[in-house]
Symmetry: D3
Subunit: 67 residues, 6 copies
């Protein structure tokens, strides 16, 4: 399955903190940390664990540039 989203950053899960509805997931991407907030349901559905190899998927229209 290919995605239209242009950004698929390879990395490893380094932190998972679950709340009641959403969870914070941090991924190490080549030394830079990418933080995601996804639903607890997704964490369980993907059986996410520390150390998992994952991709951080980001639609290009969601990326702001700062200079």
């Amino acid at each position: 399955m290919k995605l239209s989203a242009r950004n698929a950053l390879n990395g490893k899960v380094i932190e998972i903190v679950k709340g009641q509805i959403v969870a914070k997931v941090k991924v190490d991407v080549s030394g830079q940390t990418v933080t995601s907030v996804i639903s607890n349901e997704a964490v369980d559905d993907l059986d996410l664990k520390i150390g998992d190899s994952v991709q951080a998927i980001i639609k290009s229209s969601e990326v702001i540039i700062a200079k």
Copy 2:
């Protein structure tokens, strides 16, 4: 000025393609390419050029995890 957005990925602009309203901007972030679609107005306002050091800013709620 500090941002609430948790993701600020450092990189260099490697491509800028302008359309009529929006532009595609590619940034090399530690060897992985991040693609952004921003307004032409923003490209002009930031005077974006190939080789510029920039940050790709992404709110954590916009990051999907794939495993």
Copy 3:
């Protein structure tokens, strides 16, 4: 590859209109039309054509409820 995004709506591509940077893609999902704006690059990369079976992927935090 499983996605954390909770919404994956199955449908068929019924329209593709390309601009200079982004394209409008319409998908028939069980009789309701879902419209997406993605990059031309993505349309080419996925080799999208009318009639293709696709999924419309939407992060739950992007869905507004109206009543």
Copy 4:
């Protein structure tokens, strides 16, 4: 009031789970489930209940296509 968002999927609320700040709301849209994460404030403001007829509103730039 008309919205510029191109996607307004008609459906019925089938689940509401409230956390401290945000809530997960699931809507049955022609047999496919659409999941939304909105603020608790919005759930109360719209007086959302199971069985309500609602629309899932999604801006076209938020829809990723997978093939």
Copy 5:
């Protein structure tokens, strides 16, 4: 029809620039300009014109805070 989106900023359309797929629309909101990028289809569907009274609708999860 009530929306779960928490932000509905009242204002007047002051600029509309159409590209091939998307359009830039500027709205004066109490003296501050809000810029939106929506589809041409939406501009036509809403019959948007300079001077129209509109609302800029923004989901709270899309708002970044800077300090």
Copy 6:
């Protein structure tokens, strides 16, 4: 640091409610209230307090127009 996001609405923080993972932050922008949902981590990182002068940053592609 300049941002590509076109919307930077000046205002004052009038409410902060923290959950387990995310927080609701309300900002008074020229008499209209803007609501944001950001991570608790961001609230702490920006040391956000009631009365702080802040900007509500919104990418133009996240703004829906209603008429």
